[in-house]
């Protein structure tokens, strides 16, 4: 859930049995989005499991179906569908970015690369400077 916390969301629930407590109220808008490449990106999430995060009245629930396909459900009172879709896409991208970051860092460490600088830019890109000595 590093992607969610990096965007300021708090984890509200992680258990599938809590799903009913986050059912959408009538006044809330709701948008459903698929996560690209979700079969490999969302290995933190078990099949038929849900994780819910919240920020500023917006609730995003990650879920995986029995085939492993992941999706986001974004709800928020007083928000338009376009706003919710934008928030969901922002979260979806953050999930992919965190996946790439974790994969790169793990592979580079295993190959003897040293990370000498790391910063998060204002545009939310992650900048790394790494060094490697070769034979």
């Amino acid at each position: 859930m590093a992607a969610a916390t990096s965007l300021g969301y708090q984890v509200a629930a992680e258990a599938a049995e809590l799903r009913k407590s986050f059912e959408v109220e009538k006044k809330e808008s709701k948008v459903q989005l698929d996560i690209e490449n979700s079969e490999v990106v969302t290995n933190q999430l078990g099949r038929d499991q849900h994780i819910t995060v919240t920020r500023d009245g917006v609730t995003i629930t990650f879920s995986r179906d029995v085939r492993g396909r992941a999706s986001l459900c974004v709800t928020g009172e007083g928000r338009t569908n376009d706003e919710l879709r934008a928030l969901g896409e922002e979260m979806s991208q953050a999930v992919v970015q965190q996946y790439v970051y974790q994969k790169l860092m793990g592979e580079m460490r295993s190959r003897g690369f040293n990370v000498i600088e790391e910063e998060l830019s204002e545009d939310r890109s992650i900048r790394l400077k790494v060094r490697h000595w070769e034979n």
Partner: protein, 66 residues
Amino acid sequence: MPEREFDITIGKNGSVELHVKGYKGKGCMEAMKMFQQIVGELKSEQKTNEFYEPEEQVRFNIDQRH
């Protein structure tokens, strides 16, 4: 033993930009292949002015495909 330096930018959408320093000749291509193995196939490649100098610098964009 030469030192290699890499500037890596992971875009907010997960795309990866790689700036390679410290390679001569085709050595940088080996580095590019290694990063392709990690994050995905090459999307675009841009040789900087330094590419034509004895020590090359090459910029790559790699798409996340895994």
